[in-house]
Point group: D2
Chain length 104, copies 4
Amino acid sequence: MSLREVQEEVDKWVSQLKSGYWSQFEIMTRLSEEVGELAREVNHKYGQKKKKTAQEGSDIEEEIGDIIFTLACLANKEKIDLDECFKKAMNKCYGRDKDRFEKK
Amino acid sequence: MSLREVQEEVDKWVSQLKSGYWSQFEIMTRLSEEVGELAREVNHKYGQKKKKTAQEGSDIEEEIGDIIFTLACLANKEKIDLDECFKKAMNKCYGRDKDRFEKK
Amino acid sequence: MSLREVQEEVDKWVSQLKSGYWSQFEIMTRLSEEVGELAREVNHKYGQKKKKTAQEGSDIEEEIGDIIFTLACLANKEKIDLDECFKKAMNKCYGRDKDRFEKK
Amino acid sequence: MSLREVQEEVDKWVSQLKSGYWSQFEIMTRLSEEVGELAREVNHKYGQKKKKTAQEGSDIEEEIGDIIFTLACLANKEKIDLDECFKKAMNKCYGRDKDRFEKK
């Protein structure tokens, strides 16, 4: 699946909602919630806190998916292209930040 | 660009680093940092705090890219497929959560 | 209750645990989890997503408390004084940032 | 300094601003930004990414202070007592969660 298709799938789903896209601040609060759920799964898998039974069923895979979904909402709202976003991140890796991590 | 290619690009970059992939907790801390930078950009664009000159140059597009990069690091570390992640998120939209948002 | 007492209460509780204080990265991942739970409560109270019954019972008050708890863990681990932390934040308000927000 | 005084100090500062307290969603986005700045400091101190010179000057102490400030904003906005928040967190430690962590 391409980043373009991710954005289209999300748009198709949001388009049928009465609310449409939320405000940027609401999307950011949702992002915070989803990142927290991923953190919880990572804590449960690698940390020292025992999982409460009620929370079982979700997992790292699902939570990463929810974050991508939320980012696509923000990108669509902002008319931003996710391809462009990722390209910028990779360019920074090979450009500005290329000496910030020690090479093999 | 496909989600598969995103994961491959990130893997190619990390493979040349001496450190390799960081621990899951380090990746989560990085994710928190990147989400914070996106929040800062959203605050600057839509909120009431004036931007300090020193921070100019980054933007919403770039920060979304950095988050995707970080998620791909975690997915690669966990041997998780981003396609699978997003599919799970969409399935939840049309399944479990289908009545949690009012339709048009 | 004073910030000093907050740190002491937390220390008393952690001291009886086998694990002691977690690593800084683990504490940050926990912080991310707690902030996410607060975000969820704010979303439920002011946003458009209906609450799932299973999650009821927690609230904004409780989630703010969990974040303070987690910050006190980090402060104790780092031998940092919360009084000092807050003083720095207020000094910045009246110093560096004093013209970044419009006055009445 | 007491938690009560923290809330009063913050209220005194916000009261002189034209904007007054922000919306809950804006405060949450700010919280996300501040947590990200703390994550950056922790990454710099304990992680593998070299600090960029431009970002020097802030530190873990200062970032924890900014988070407490932001939490006090939300508490004031919500007419919530931070003492009550922390009490709830500690009660959970000694009540609901008392068997979730192994004792010495």
